[in-house]
Amino acid sequence: MDYALEIKGLEKCYSKGNKVLKGIDIKIEEGIVAGFIGMNGAGKTTTIKSILGLVVPNAGEIKIFGKSFKENEKEIKNRIGIVFDNGYLYEDLKLSEMKQIFAAAYTKWDEDNYKKYIKNFNLNEKQKVKELSKGMKMKFSLALALSHHADLLIMDEPTSGLDPKIRKEFLDIIREFIIDVGKTVFFSTHITTDLDKIADQIIMLNAGEVIFNKDKDILIDEHALVKGDKTILTNDNRKWFVALEERGFSFEGLTNQRERVRQEMKQALCERPTIEDIMVAYMGR
């Protein structure tokens, strides 16, 4: 198995005794769209910045395309495309000027490809970065990130604050990118419905630790949203729930023991959960 990204034992503290990352392990196979979720402050951005060498971790190892990042920084950076929520773009530059700075940094810059994206996204190169709407800025970032034949696309909340139509366009672009063999996408988001649609693998971080790292469909198949009459709850079966909300006469909860609940709590209704149901349940723990 070839891994696009391997993180082992990553630790980071910004101030003494306050660990933001408590030794996290993440592996992402080549050809996968991996979604990275967790509450604000869970450590997602710190993880992504560590991968890109923008933050120096206190411990741990990061390998990209099977190679140590530290020793092959230049080569690796050439093969990564980056999209950040609140840009690394210079607000006062025209798009064409920003592009020139950007293009100079990559050996495999593809001007034709870039032009194609600018045209498809209806961007005007004469505009200044600060004149772009939020959605346009994201598209411009994508055009830059996708125009140097990157093999790994890393994005930090690329779709936050964007309307459903632009988010759909974003997902279509990712689908087109991932079709080629050897391409990998890793992105953090709070918009879990996007992950329901596009992710192959879901990694959840909570308080600096990886809570789960799984095939999306397996994750959804092994959990269930359970609803029923409160009287069927016992001290024993309460333990089968990751999160359980007891109301006046009914309950609703998320179980990670789907088969057991189905067989032993026959009066309850079991539904397929969304990623959001699962995420919220694990956050409340």
């Binding site: 769209v33 649609k197 693998q201 095939d215 959804i220 198949d221």
Partner: protein, 126 residues
């Protein structure tokens, strides 16, 4: 190929995917030796994860329904179709014996059994 994954179904997603490909091959909708969509294409199409799709393909290959040629893709396995149908037929026979035994135990007559079978066929319009 017409594959629809239901989110409200109790059947695990990967099982649904596998069953539907199997049905398509057995019914001849996918013809002998026909190229199946690539794993990524099928995943994009059905919104199923690429990991799950790969697992379904791997199992279909292990069961002899498809054959994967490295670098070329996966093909419906032609030669095995007769064997597969025969295996299914054997299953039908076993289930019929089971139904017969249960029926006999409570005294269902040959006529009644026939009627039940007739109704089943009529319901499906054959």
């Amino acid at each position: 190929m017409n594959i629809i994954i239901s989110n409200s179904s109790d059947i695990p997603i990967y099982q649904q995917l596998k069953n539907q490909i199997k049905e398509a091959i057995l019914s001849g909708e996918i013809r002998d030796g026909e190229l199946l969509p690539s794993i990524r294409n099928l995943a994009n199409e059905t919104r199923v994860s690429v990991l799950t799709t790969r697992r379904a393909y791997d199992e279909l290959e292990a069961e002899g329904f498809i054959k994967t040629v490295h670098g070329k893709g996966s093909f419906a396995a032609s030669g095995n179709l007769e064997l597969l149908k025969e295996a299914r037929l054997k299953q039908v026979e076993e289930k019929l014996i089971e139904a017969y035994n249960i029926g006999r135990a409570i005294g269902v007559s040959k006529e009644d059994m026939r009627t039940m079978m007739d109704i089943l066929f009529e319901e499906n319009g054959r």
